[in-house]
Each structure stands twice: as C-alpha cells, then as structure tokens.
Amino acid sequence: MTIGSSLGIAFRALSRNKLQTALTTIGMTIGVATVLTMIALGTGAQTAIEQQVRAAGMNLIVVKAGNYKTKTEDDVGGVVDHQAAIAPQSQVLLASFHPEDDPMEKHDHPTSRQRLGDVEAGLGAAATLTPADAEAIRGLRGVQYVSEGIHENVHAIAGDKRWFTRLHGGDTDLPSIKRSWTFPYGRFFTEREQSRRAAAVVLGSIAAQKLFGATNPVGRQVFLWKQPFQVVGVVSSGSWMVTAAAGDDQFDALYVPFTTIHQLLNLSKLNDISITAASTGDVTRVANDVTELLRARHRIAQNDPDDFTVVTQARQSLAKGGLRPDVARAVVGNVGGLEKVTLAQLGRTLDRAMKTMTALLASIAAVSLIVGGIGIMNIMLLSVTERTREIGIRRAVGARAGDVLRQFLVEAIALSVIGGVAGIALGALASGIIAQILRWSTALSPLSIALSFAVAAAVGVFFGYYPARQASRLDPIESLRYE
C-alpha cells in the first residue's frame, strides 16, 4: 500500500467526521500556537534587548579627541581622577584648556573654531583626530561601521522659524551605528552627497517639528550659518525604548556630512570617531587595537599618555544612551559592579536570562503538546474501536497488520499536522496582534515554523503509535463479527 493511498484514506476518514476532527485538533492547535507565539515573543524580546543594548553602545566604541579630562563625577557619585586612571605612571601633566576649546562643551555662541577654523583656534592637543585616522580604523579587523564625528551647536533657520540645536557631522554609516533609527520622511545623506560636500541636511524629528511643524520638510531649505541646506530626510526613533524629546542629542539635532562641515567651517579635525565592533564580545579587543593604531599613527612614545580617549563603558552608555530608565535599570541591575564586569560577562548574564526564559517556554510547550497529543491518542483509540469492523474488512481483503498500523498512524499524524498547521496560523496571528498591541517586536522565523511543524508530526507519531498498534493487532475474525 502506497503512502499516497494511506493519506487518501486518512483524509477521507477525517473528513467524514469534520466536527470530531476539528475538536480533536484544537488541543494540538492551541499547543502549537502557544509554542510559536512564545518562541516569537521570546526571540523577539531577545532581539529587542540585543538591539537596544547594541543601540545603547554595547558594541559601540567612541574615540574622543584629547585626553584632557580632569576630575569629574563618576556614575555612582564618587570622584575619579581620570588622568591618574588613564596614565597612572606618567609624570606629564596635561595642559588645561579654556572651556571654549573643549570640543565636547556646549556653547550658545560661535566658538573660536567656528570663527577662525581649527588651526587658528589653537586646539592643540585636543584636535588630534583626523579623517585619515578614521580611514585607518576602517581597515581594522572586527570593525563593522565607522563614522567621523563633528559636533557643533547651530541656529537653524527655516522661513521665520529659528531653532537652536545640535549639529552633527557624520558619515553615511551613522544610521547603521545608531541602528534604531527610522526615517518617517526621506533618507539619510548619501555617499555621493558626502564626497561632493553637498549642502544636505537630515533633521531629527524634534528639530523637524520645531522648524516645519507636522509637514513633510523633504526638499525644503534650512539655513545654517547663513548657508542654504537642502533637507533630504527626517530621522526618528524606531525603538519603543527610546523616545525623541526636546533637548536630546539624537533627535533634537541636525545631521550633515562631516565633509560639508569641514568645508564650511574650514576644519580638518574631528571631535570623535564612532566605531562599532562586528560582534559584541569583540569590543574590548577592537578598542585595544584602535588605541594601538592611533598611538602609532600619532607617534606617541611608550610612556606618554594617549592624546585621545577610547570610551567603551557599557554602563555609561546604558545609563545615558537614551534607554528607558526602567530598562536601563533592569539591565544594569542584573550586573553588579559593572565597572569590573567585562562585556563577555555581561553577555553571559544576558545569555543566562535567555536560557531561563527558554526553559520556561520549553516546559509550557511540552505541557500543551502532551495535552494535545493525549487528545489525539484518545480519539484514535475511540476511532479504532468504532472502526473495528472496517479493520476486519480490510484484513479480509488482504490488508496486512502493517497496512492497518500505517493507516492509523498516518491518520494520527494527519490529525496532529492539521492541528499544527492551524496552530502555526493562529500563532502567527497571535504574535502579530501582540506585536501590534504591546509594540513588542516579535520574530517569526521560518525555523520556528518548521520546528512547530516537525513537533506536531512527532507528537502524531508518538501518540498515534499505540492506537495504531492496537488496531493492527486486532483479530480479523473478531473484527468482522464486531457490532
């Protein structure tokens, strides 16, 4: 007997009693739907956390020009002597700078650099990073994206609207580094605009709102330093964890190719370079490589301190990187004394949390599938009893015990697979709805669908075997006499 005719018999048998078939498969449907939804939510949560952690800087390395920090408060309120921390063995004291020369300082008036350009401004040791440095970093192993960074404050003028905001000069890689950006209008500036030093500007959603209200600003003009810039896009937060707000650094801001700012303000240096490591576990090594590379490029002697600062502090970025405070607390709270904790350890903690979640999912899955499977076994046993005479007839016309076994096994598998397919549909629907309502990203991978399907079939085999075996063991004569 062929598989085709077994399947035919099974589907005919199942379609004869549609209500019973439907009721039987409900257990399976709910089981598989639960599994699929939970996997989708689980991997969705995992992906979301991973993305947020990355977006918050878990794999982000920022190289800042200068190494001029003095005493600042650290995250936990204590006072840290960064200079001592950075170059404890060095006897050379760093020059102190006028606050105006601090490239990280925010000003409400044009700085000396803006007035004079960086050479005349006498940035000295602070203006140490060049586009050539960034280019060299791009060549390092394990480096994924690199963006040159220049940060200024600017009065943006559009028509009669003025808005004082942050201006970021960056590379086309910047959206890839930020990850969670979306573009409600237009796009980011292109490679071509960057190389041609085009006067193209991307507005942060807050800046766009302040300058143009709710209308689409793409194609309109914004004046920066009295120069006309064409708006090519609006960037907004694509993450449920980060909300754009007035005064923030990301969305109350403008983005322009760094080449354009260099040209416009007659600059040749960078405030910082943002780098992402291709893998989160690799950040420390990449950071070390960057440090070595820049020390070599800047010809810094063995015992001299760096003339730049490499920042990889996970906690700093978690706490200040725009994460929702509760999420940041949750992530940080799971890792005591983050300063001492390497990224690898942080990764392990997240991993452990995911394993616990997976175990929970697996047990829920197991319970619902067992319940569904028992339902199928029950109905198949009933079916064997109901169809004893049919079994006798089939045996009389030459069906072997194996043919009967296969027929009932195929029927049980068909039942569970029907339930499984319905469950996949229901699960996809449920995770879609949950994603909509909770604004929680769900990931429905082909693998999880294939897995659900395979699990459904396996449940059919496991719970269908016993009834099928009972059917095949029936005595033909007894079965023929059965009323």
Binding site: R389, R400, G402
Partner: protein, 245 residues
C-alpha cells in the same frame, strides 16, 4: 485435481478454563470449479472451517494445502497476501465500508496488492467489476443508499476483483429476501459456470444449499455427510417464475 486439501484439521479455542474443540479432525478435498455448500447447525464448526480455509485463521493441528502449497503454517503477512490474491469473501452482513462509495468499496483489494496500481487503473477495474454485477449506475452510491441485494452484489464484485480461484460465502442470503437470495445464487451459479470459480457456501438453510453441486454437513466439529447433489436447483429458472420485485 484438488484445489484445496485438508487433513486431520483440528481447531481448539481456549475460552476461559474450558477448551472448546471447534474442529475435531476434518479431512477433505475440494476440486477446482466445484460449488460446495457447507451446512450444519450453529456451533457445528462450519464457520471455523471456513475461516481456516479462508486463511483468516490457522488450524491448531492438521495440514491445509491450497493449490499444492502448505498454508497451515504461514505467518500473518503471507496469509494476508493469499487472502488478497487467491480468496474472495462474501459475508452475511455484506461488510461494506460505510460512508464510502460502492466503487471505492470494490477497489479495496487493489490497495493491498503486491504491485502498485494507479488510482485511475483501480477505478477502471472496479467499474468493470461493478458492471459485471449489474451495478454500473450505482457506482457513486454509498452502502446506505443501496438495497440489501445491491449491497451484496457490491460485496461480490469486491470479492472477485483480484480474480481469486476460490470464493467463500458465509450465509450470503441470511439478510436477504427470497427473491434477492435467488438472484445471489444465480450470480454464484453463473460464476461457476462461466468463470470456473470454486465456491464454498456456508449456510444453515438446506434449501439454499440445494443450489450447490456438493453438500457437506457438519456436526460437532466433524463432517457427518458429504454428498454430491446431482440435481441442484437452478436459480435462473426460478427467477423467471418469481414475480419481479
């Protein structure tokens, strides 16, 4: 030449503590093309006898040669293959699959044959078999839409599908009215006549046994008489005399 031969056939069932001896040493030969009626009261062992001859059951002791092959010690799969190819059954209760069309019922033996037969070919052969019993126009009907006589004809078509050498009929007229009974007997007599099929008819009604050319009587698990019937009833003639239904 004997189509089947049995020697000292004994069948003992264990029912609780009691051993029931259904067959107590039966020795018999049936030639190809014979129409044999097996008669006897219930409990005489005739059904057990038919089950063993029909390869649905195995004897406790004794030998059974079917077409010169010893089948008394074959395993279940081998017996299934013999039932499929060499034997056809017709039962008192028709034993058709419910909620299944006549055509699908008839093609059932082809599902379990050795060689693969395409669905189209199965259908074609089943249709030919249905035509032979005069039910071509009922092919898509389900058993509950057919009269008793029609159901039994479907069952006969199914039994004959693989061209078996022997047909076992267990009380085939038990559930039928007299005219339909005669119709079924007519089919059997024509099968014997036209196709040389050996028929073993189990019945407890002496007048039904009269259609056979040889009558074997069972009692208490043994053959008490085995006689040729030189003047069997002729179903086709009786049909002409009966009022049409």
């Amino acid at each position: 030449m004997a189509l089947l031969r049995v020697r000292d056939l004994v069948k003992t069932y264990q029912v609780g503590e009691v051993a029931v001896r259904a067959l107590r040493g039966v020795t018999l030969g049936i030639d190809a093309g014979e129409f044999v009626a097996v008669v006897g009261p219930s409990g005489s062992g005739k059904s057990t006898f038919m089950h063993i001859l029909g390869c649905l059951d195995r004897p406790t002791t004794g030998s059974y040669f079917l077409e010169d092959r010893d089948v008394s010690h074959l395993n279940d799969d081998e017996l299934s293959a013999i039932r499929n190819r060499q034997i056809g059954f017709v039962f008192q209760g028709f034993n058709l699959l419910a909620r299944t069309s006549a055509l699908e019922n008839v093609e059932l033996p082809l599902l379990y044959g050795k060689q693969r037969i395409s669905a189209g070919e199965r259908r074609r052969r089943a249709r030919v078999a249905l035509e032979a019993v005069g039910l071509a126009d009922r092919a898509e009907h389900h058993p509950n839409q057919l009269s008793g006589g029609q159901q039994q004809r479907v069952a006969i078509a199914r039994a004959l599908l693989n061209n078996p050498s022997i047909l076992f009929a267990d009380e085939p007229t038990g559930n039928l009215d007299s005219r339909t009974s005669v119709e079924v007997m007519d089919i059997f007599q024509r099968l014997k006549q036209d196709r040389g099929i050996t028929i073993v008819l189990i019945t407890h009604e002496p007048q039904v046994a009269e259609y056979a050319s040889r009558i074997i009587a069972f009692k208490d698990g043994q053959i008490v008489s085995d006689q040729a019937n030189h003047s069997p009833r002729v179903a086709v003639g009786e049909l002409a005399l009966l009022p049409a239904s």
